[in-house]
Symmetry: C2
Amino acid sequence: MDSLTLALDAMGGDFGPQVTVPASLRALERFPALKISMFGDQEAITRYIPENSPHLDRLTIEHCTQIVTMNDRPLTAVRNRRDSSMRKAIDMVQQQNAGACVSAGNTGVLMAMAKLVLKTLPGIDRPALISTLPTLKDKPVYMLDLGANVSCDSDALLQFAVMGSVVAQKVNKIDFPKISLLNVGEEDMKGNDVVKHTAELLKETTQLNYIGFIEGHQIFDGDTDVIVCDGFVGNISLKTTEGVANLLIEHLRKAAQSSLFMRFLSLMATPFLKNVLCKVKPDQYNGASLLGLRGIVIKSHGNADQDAFFTAIKQAVAEVEQQVPDRIQDSLESILLEKIC
Amino acid sequence: MDSLTLALDAMGGDFGPQVTVPASLRALERFPALKISMFGDQEAITRYIPENSPHLDRLTIEHCTQIVTMNDRPLTAVRNRRDSSMRKAIDMVQQQNAGACVSAGNTGVLMAMAKLVLKTLPGIDRPALISTLPTLKDKPVYMLDLGANVSCDSDALLQFAVMGSVVAQKVNKIDFPKISLLNVGEEDMKGNDVVKHTAELLKETTQLNYIGFIEGHQIFDGDTDVIVCDGFVGNISLKTTEGVANLLIEHLRKAAQSSLFMRFLSLMATPFLKNVLCKVKPDQYNGASLLGLRGIVIKSHGNADQDAFFTAIKQAVAEVEQQVPDRIQDSLESILLEKIC
């Protein structure tokens, strides 16, 4: 691995430096060539750096006077939060002084700032949010868009397919990744006009391995590598997953209180169940990438703990190593050329 | 309860008469005023009626020469399956000889046949599929549309809100039911144009208790009574729920095999976990209603077991008792009048 620098928004997320600083120190330990610039309140950040920490020569702190809050609106924040930790981290990527930025802050503001500062790649209309979900097989599946675009036409969905395919191939090392379109049925006649037209476009594109429609209950089957949908559907499907997990936790909690035997059983099973339930709350345990920009932006969940924020940093490192934006641009150009010829 | 007659498609679903006949006998036992007409292959139906069964005076069998299969396409089946058990059951409702029909057969064909034969109510453009989902509180939430309409405008979503409100009020006895729109955020500015415009329409309608947007992870919170969305989103959200439950079952199964202690734990916990997982696979355990027609049509899941098909019959009885289509028509007329005045 060549030397790489990441720009981290230290203040984002529910826990701020309490989570982002220890996760960063762990990342510096793990990746010997990594350099990290942390943006945020210098005093708050320093508080979480233990004395005599190793690798501090590879950590710099960039003091910022502003913080993006969860209540900030994208358009207002873009104008009024120019000295925020989030904005400064994105600026560093734009100035090519960092390979990627990572933030657990306000998703809407992050998307708006990243799009304004970094701009989209040629041929990409709007960036999309991608993440991995667990499956029944021993491999994750990529899904996009998870909420960056609330209405999409077929061209946008085709661009998502290209971007998802590149990430699955480069980051997850899958040769010719299988791509599926999320729909209400598997047959050609099923679905709305946008989905049906996208299927036609994907079938014509020999450089993508499109395998057809899949339904909501098949998302976790592991029979495909990339699931493409518009951001409205993707966001609701992902958040439904979180809702089901919460419902289940509550049922288990209630049942555990119903008898002494159930209390015993619950006590024994808790560590295991916690592990399983983590797996079905994917958005809280994986970093999501904002794809289609001229730079790498990783979004960690607002609730992210140290493990989750560390995972987001690892995702950033992998995308920098694979130069994901360049690969997306290559792939798009090649597909557009195929369509013209 | 006055005397009521239901028309049942005995052949629908994965198990046909093996499930539909015992569930019907149970319903006859439960509802003393109920009469059932079972449509299907006479010999296959008779096979599952034990000798000396009580209440057979309230059961009639109507022999049909055709069956709608899961592979039948709606438009073809409407033309070519006129002597099918499904079609004949719907015909009986249209002829006003039955108060409702129940089928566990092909959903697409059931919707197409029901719409053709029964027609929609005045003011309703297309029927919608509604069902209840479990929540964290001790009450279910209604959600529609679950897949009858893959693209909807704001007028359609408003009609869904009216229909959902009527069912929640009449069948579930909720006074002035709270209505929410499924969206990617809670703030007014979030979502696509259709959802935002529907919110405006709902706010203007004083006869509906619209309380705002909810997100996917809030579906199961129990803070609302009716969740409105288009059929594409509703279908994918519901089926995602099924996918998560399957993923969880598989993780539990694998974990149970990992050690002797886990095997013991799993053996102890199985009955309880099965019960919980049933609750998070709502579509398999509740009947769904096709609303907006001039007649009552209940769709049971294809996988329905005796309990699930019995639940669908109970749902039919409740809707007949409450004359749901008439109440929807009253409510729609009243709302349209409010808008004109």
